[in-house]
Symmetry: C2
Subunit: 138 residues, 2 copies
C-alpha cells in the first residue's frame, strides 16, 4: 500500500553536460565571479540573480542544482540546503559576451527569496499601490 | 487619407515615476553600477543583462526607455539609438537586496542582441544540438 504523500512527484536533479569549449567561453570578472540569472521554467518568472565562481558553476552542472558563491559569507551556497527550496536546473544559457548566465529551473517549495516572496523581484518602482506582493508572471 | 504604413502601432514611451524612497533602496557597487536584467513583456523571454549607474537609471525612468552605462565605452548608452531596436519600459522591479534590477520591456524590431539574435542568451550549455538559434520562450 502506498501512502498518499508518496504520490507527490519529487523534482529530479538532472546533471548538465556542457562542453569544455562552452565553459571556456564564460568570462569571470576580476573577483572570479559571473552573474547568474535564475528564471522559473514554465512561468518565465525571473526569480533571482546571484553570483557564481567557476567551482560553483561546475557543481551546478554536475549536481543539476544551482550552486552560487556567497559574496557576503565568502563560501559556496547550494540553494535550498538551508531553506529546503531547491532549484533544479532544466536549461542553462550563456550570453553573447559570455559574462552573464541564465538558468531555467524548477523551483521547489516556497520560492527563491529569503524574505518569503516567491521571487526576489517583488517590489515595483512606481506609486506604492503598484507594488504587488509577488512579481507578475510573464 | 491615411497611408497603410501609418496604421502600424508604434510603441509609446511611458515615463515611470519611482518614489525617492524606492530609488534610495537601490545599491550601486563600488563602480557605481547595478546590474539590470531585461525581460520581454508578454513572452517572459530574458533578453539581456547590462549595467546602470544612477544617471542611466534616472534617465530610464524619465524617458521610459532603457538607458545603460557602457563599461567598455565608459559612456551612457541608450538602447536602440544605434540599432533602432529600442526597449520601452513597461514595469520595473528592484530585488530584495536592492542590488539587482529587473525591467519588463516592449522590445522593438530585431531584438536585444548586437549579434542579431533576439535575446543575448541564444547559446545553451550542453550537447551542441541543443543550442538553438534563439532562446526558448518561457
Amino acid at each position: 500500500m502506498v501512502a498518499a504523500g508518496s504520490l507527490v512527484a519529487m523534482p529530479v536533479a538532472t546533471p548538465l553536460e556542457p562542453t569544455d569549449e562552452q565553459i571556456a567561453l564564460v568570462t569571470f570578472n576580476d573577483d572570479g565571479l559571473v552573474p547568474a540569472i535564475v528564471q522559473e521554467e514554465g512561468t518565465g518568472k525571473v526569480l533571482m540573480m546571484a553570483w557564481m565562481n567557476e567551482e560553483s558553476l561546475r557543481r551546478t552542472f554536475a549536481e543539476g542544482r544551482t550552486v552560487f558563491w556567497s559574496r557576503s559569507r565568502q563560501e559556496l551556497w547550494r540553494k535550498g540546503d538551508t531553506s529546503g527550496d531547491r532549484q533544479f536546473v532544466r536549461e542553462a544559457y550563456y550570453d553573447c559576451d559570455g559574462d552573464t548566465l541564465l538558468f531555467v529551473v524548477e523551483q521547489e517549495g516556497n520560492g527563491a527569496c529569503h524574505t518569503g516572496n516567491y521571487s526576489c523581484f517583488f517590489r515595483a518602482f512606481g506609486p506604492e499601490e503598484s507594488t504587488s506582493s509577488d512579481v507578475r508572471e510573464a
